[in-house]
């Protein structure tokens, strides 16, 4: 057994397991040790499931010996604490669900289990996935492995930090307005938000149901393809799950990019974009030209309306979804309620943090009598225009590229008192959720020693094309192989 297992990709680990170079038990133990050794510095996990992980690893080893391996059999994976895990605390980063032991598994968790993957634990996240810095978590902020005074991004900040520090070879995330892509960019890893409906939302605690989508986060596009293969598919228990067949995501990874047409939206390179970030993105685009792609300028004229649209639609849906947290059936309940209304109000007032309350209140207001047309309906109309922009663009190009975020990772505390400044961290990612398209972030370089992400946006259900473009880029560059010094 070698002690450099953590520097291997999932695909390399899968080969090692099959060849008997090491067992899943050895591999899982080594990752659990790395998690426990880094917890104080990174705070990437809310719950580490040591015992359960070792049992799953033993079972995986038996499957491997019996020649009954799936794609990820024996591979340790960390799950965002938004996915319900039977018998394990599922907090969603909130005091409200701190006492919540999920009574069933999310479909995504079930899929990983059936494939034989090992669950390392539940990763830290912004409370109910509402945040872009992981600072709204009840369990404290996650630190960016590249700079411990910087945020890892959010809301899947724990998952991103875990993969970046190689304390997990892969992790699940969810993305409502950028929550996979933005932390992937800020932590220097690869993350993909699939097309809306591609991965089941069953058992994934809902934030904004028409936008929420789960996806993989890992070091490379190749690893994301393997994970997405396990995650994707129709589920009758999710009413918006797609019935389309799932393609083999690894089949087209090395397809030649000659003739691929890439669109650069001029709105993604204008005011607000950090100059040094722009240079990194331009260099990455040049790499694609070398790979044979043709690059053209396009326009997505309603881009500036994405953030305002999102901050009506998402809070409206969240105020409805989070009404189930009422202190009656599960989760936090206040002490000595004097009547039912007091029970509701104080349980919710104590259980939710400031940002979650803010969004619930905005949503309740936007949906209230007399304001519904002015806010919610208006936002849904603008959403249609944003979606139309993409439709027209994809008549001309195969892929859209630009920066994932306007700046590198900001410092802890820098934006936590200014919600609007925080919201702008997702300026390039939000429109993708509003349209329901697949998007991806690839590590593309550094500014001031902090990672920068290149965003790729594809047409509906074209995850294979994104993964192909990601893989080819990673064959030509080594940004995805960089590991922060302290965790190397």
């Amino acid at each position: 057994m070698s002690n450099d297992m953590h520097s291997k990709t999932i695909s390399e680990l899968a080969i090692g397991l099959r060849n008997g170079d090491f067992s899943s038990e050895e591999l899982t133990r080594s990752y659990l040790d790395r998690i426990n050794a880094s917890q104080e510095r990174l705070n990437a996990f809310i719950t580490v499931t040591d015992e359960q992980a070792m049992k799953q690893a033993q079972a995986a080893d038996q499957r491997i010996t019996a020649g009954d391996s799936g794609i990820l059999t024996g591979i340790p994976i960390a799950h965002k604490d938004i996915f319900c895990t039977d018998g394990v605390r599922t907090s969603c980063g909130s005091k409200m669900l701190d006492p919540f032991i999920a009574p069933y598994d999310a479909k995504v968790i079930e899929n990983f289990q059936n494939d034989g993957a090992v669950m390392l634990g539940k990763t830290n996240m912004d409370e109910f996935a509402m945040g872009s810095s992981n600072e709204t978590s009840f369990y404290g902020a996650v630190k960016n492995p590249w700079a411990l005074d910087a945020v890892p991004g959010g809301s899947s900040g724990g998952s991103a930090a875990a993969v970046a520090a190689r304390i997990a070879p892969g992790a699940t995330g969810t993305d409502t307005g950028g929550s996979i892509r933005q932390p992937a960019a800020l932590c220097g890893i690869t993350g993909i938000k699939p097309t809306y409906g591609r991965v089941s939302r069953y058992g994934m605690i809902a934030y904004a149901s028409s936008l929420d989508q789960a996806g993989p986060m890992a070091a490379s596009a190749e690893d994301c393809a393997m994970m997405l293969q396990v995650m994707a598919g129709f589920d009758k228990r999710d009413s918006t799950s797609s019935e389309r067949d799932v393609p083999d995501y690894s089949a087209d990874l090395s397809k030649d990019l000659s003739g691929m047409k890439i669109g650069l939206p001029k709105e993604y390179f204008g005011e607000g974009l950090d100059g040094d970030v722009a240079k990194v993105i331009e260099t990455a685009i040049d790499e694609y030209k070398k790979l044979g792609a043709e690059v053209v300028e396009i326009s997505l004229p309603n881009t500036h309306m994405a953030v305002p649209t999102y901050y009506v639609v998402a809070p409206a849906e969240c105020s409805s979804n989070l009404s189930r947290m009422d202190g009656v059936r599960f989760g936090h309940r206040c002490e000595d309620p004097k009547d039912l209304e007091d029970l509701y109000k104080r349980s919710r007032g104590e259980g939710f943090g400031t940002e979650v309350k803010r969004r619930i209140l905005i949503g309740a207001y936007a949906l209230s009598s007399g304001y519904y047309d002015a806010y919610y309906l208006k936002a849904q109309r603008v959403r249609n225009l944003i979606s139309e922009d993409f439709k027209q663009a994809f008549e001309k190009v195969d892929l859209i590229m630009g920066p994932t975020t306007p700046t590198p990772a900001f410092n802890l505390g820098e934006k936590s008192d200014d919600p609007l400044a925080m919201y702008l961290a997702d300026i390039y990612t939000i429109a993708v959720n509003l349209a329901g398209l697949p998007g991806m972030s690839l590590p593309a370089g550094f500014v001031n020693d902090r990672p920068i992400g290149l965003q790729l946006i594809g047409n509906y259900f074209e995850e294979s094309r994104l993964l192909n473009a990601g893989y080819k880029f990673q064959q030509a560059t080594d940004w995805h192989q960089k590991i922060p010094g302290e965790f190397a």
Partner: protein, 95 residues
């Protein structure tokens, strides 16, 4: 749209969320700022544009009205805040 303290209190009541008296002012300010952001939507002409509820304009999938779930009452109530004889307990509602 600027919200005043009494507006915040009214919305908090609608949403059944207790807000500390000392924080109401802060909420009034941050919520007003967010609504200011939302007001930018008014600069867009949306006459004749259909509201978009689903990215693929999918309609609700229906299923046959058949029992598909088993009764797991005890399992589901294991971690409830207060339960008695299979019922969730809340403060008395009717005198």
């Amino acid at each position: 749209m600027a919200l005043e303290k009494k507006d915040v209190e009214a919305i908090a009541h609608l949403a059944r969320v207790a807000i500390d008296e000392a924080d109401v002012e802060d909420y009034a300010e941050s919520l007003s700022n967010i609504l200011g952001l939302a007001d930018q939507l008014n600069s867009v002409d949306t006459d004749g544009v259909t509201p978009m509820a689903h990215p693929m304009h999918m309609v609700q999938r229906l299923r046959a009205d058949e029992v598909s779930e088993t009764n797991q009452r005890e399992h589901l109530q294991e971690h409830a805040p207060a339960v008695e004889r299979g019922l969730f307990l809340v403060p008395q509602v009717i005198d």
